[in-house]
């Protein structure tokens, strides 16, 4: 768990120094299915500044994907199960061409693949990013996307909420970041290690305040 941030903001726009932390940095190869990446390497976002380092990259906990993974698996094996029961082609009227069964199977698997792909993309691109300077929340859907961001210095309060057996067991929950009254608040829903996330953001806020006074 990250302890103390020894980072000093470099005002000369040189590359950002590392944060001291006991937690290992997340390598780029393990980021495909990672819902919690601390100091990830090989990750960038389009408005990232030269001296800005990503501290946290968050997605919904993988367990929240279980429902669509199970549904996708059932959809994949269902035709095999139906075909094992008997001759499916006999249920179609005689004027249907012989290739119609192939078409039904093809469409079935195409829609199943689309379902899995869409759910994966929705999970993958709904990210929350915490850098030394900012908090960025990307809400992505197929027909719209909302990208919100705020400066760490404008964060007023950070809290975590974890409730229920599943959430406690898998250690995931919601993190709420409250900013100045005129700005919108941030919600990181179902992210892993919510208390750790709160601690990291609080330390970043504390460091920012020290720099503000100093």
């Amino acid at each position: 768990m990250p302890d103390i941030f020894t980072l000093k903001k470099d005002k000369n726009k040189t590359p950002a120094p590392k944060l001291s932390s006991k937690k290992k940095e997340t390598s780029s190869t393990s980021q495909l299915f990672s819902a919690y990446s601390f100091m990830p390497t090989g990750v960038r976002f389009d408005t990232q500044e030269v001296d800005e380092t990503i501290v946290l990259l968050l997605r919904r906990h993988w367990i929240t994907n279980l429902s669509w993974l199970i549904t996708g698996f059932i959809l994949l094996i269902l035709p095999l199960f139906l075909f094992s029961l008997g001759n499916i082609t006999s249920i179609f009227p005689s004027f249907f061409p012989p290739t119609f069964t192939s078409f039904i199977i093809l469409i079935w698997y195409l829609l199943t693949f689309t379902f899995i792909l869409t759910e994966f993309l929705l999970w993958y691109f709904n990210v929350s990013i915490v850098t030394q300077e900012r908090i960025i929340d990307v809400d992505f859907a197929l027909l719209y996307k909302v990208i919100s961001e705020t400066r760490i210095s404008r964060v007023e309060d950070v809290s975590a909420r974890t409730g229920g057996f599943i959430r406690s067991f898998f250690d995931y929950g919601d993190v709420f970041v409250q900013t100045a009254a005129t700005e919108e608040n941030f919600e990181f829903l179902a992210v892993p290690h919510p208390n750790q996330v709160v601690k990291i953001i609080n330390e970043l806020v504390g460091r920012e305040e020290e720099e503000g006074h100093g």
Partner: protein
């Protein structure tokens, strides 16, 4: 109109099914294009090493939807 439909059913009853299928497949191509486009946009917003792979998968998906449309059009 009734005479036209009756004639069509007598000529090829399957055409009454094939035409709606083609319309739905055309809408599906648009959907696949939206997925491809959004993936490309999002890949620029959040750049991770694996995003080219995701772009490739969505491109293959889009091309597959076009291929199935033409397969239905000419071979079904």
């Amino acid at each position: 109109m009734d005479n036209f439909l009756t004639g069509l059913i007598n000529f090829s009853p399957f055409l009454l099914i094939k035409i709606p299928i083609l319309v739905l497949l055309f809408l599906y191509i648009i959907y696949a294009l939206i997925i491809l486009r959004q993936t490309m946009i999002m890949s620029k917003i959040v750049e991770v090493d694996v995003t080219p792979t995701l772009q490739f998968i969505t491109l293959i998906h889009f091309l597959a939807s076009i291929a199935i449309f033409f397969w239905v059009l000419f071979f079904l």
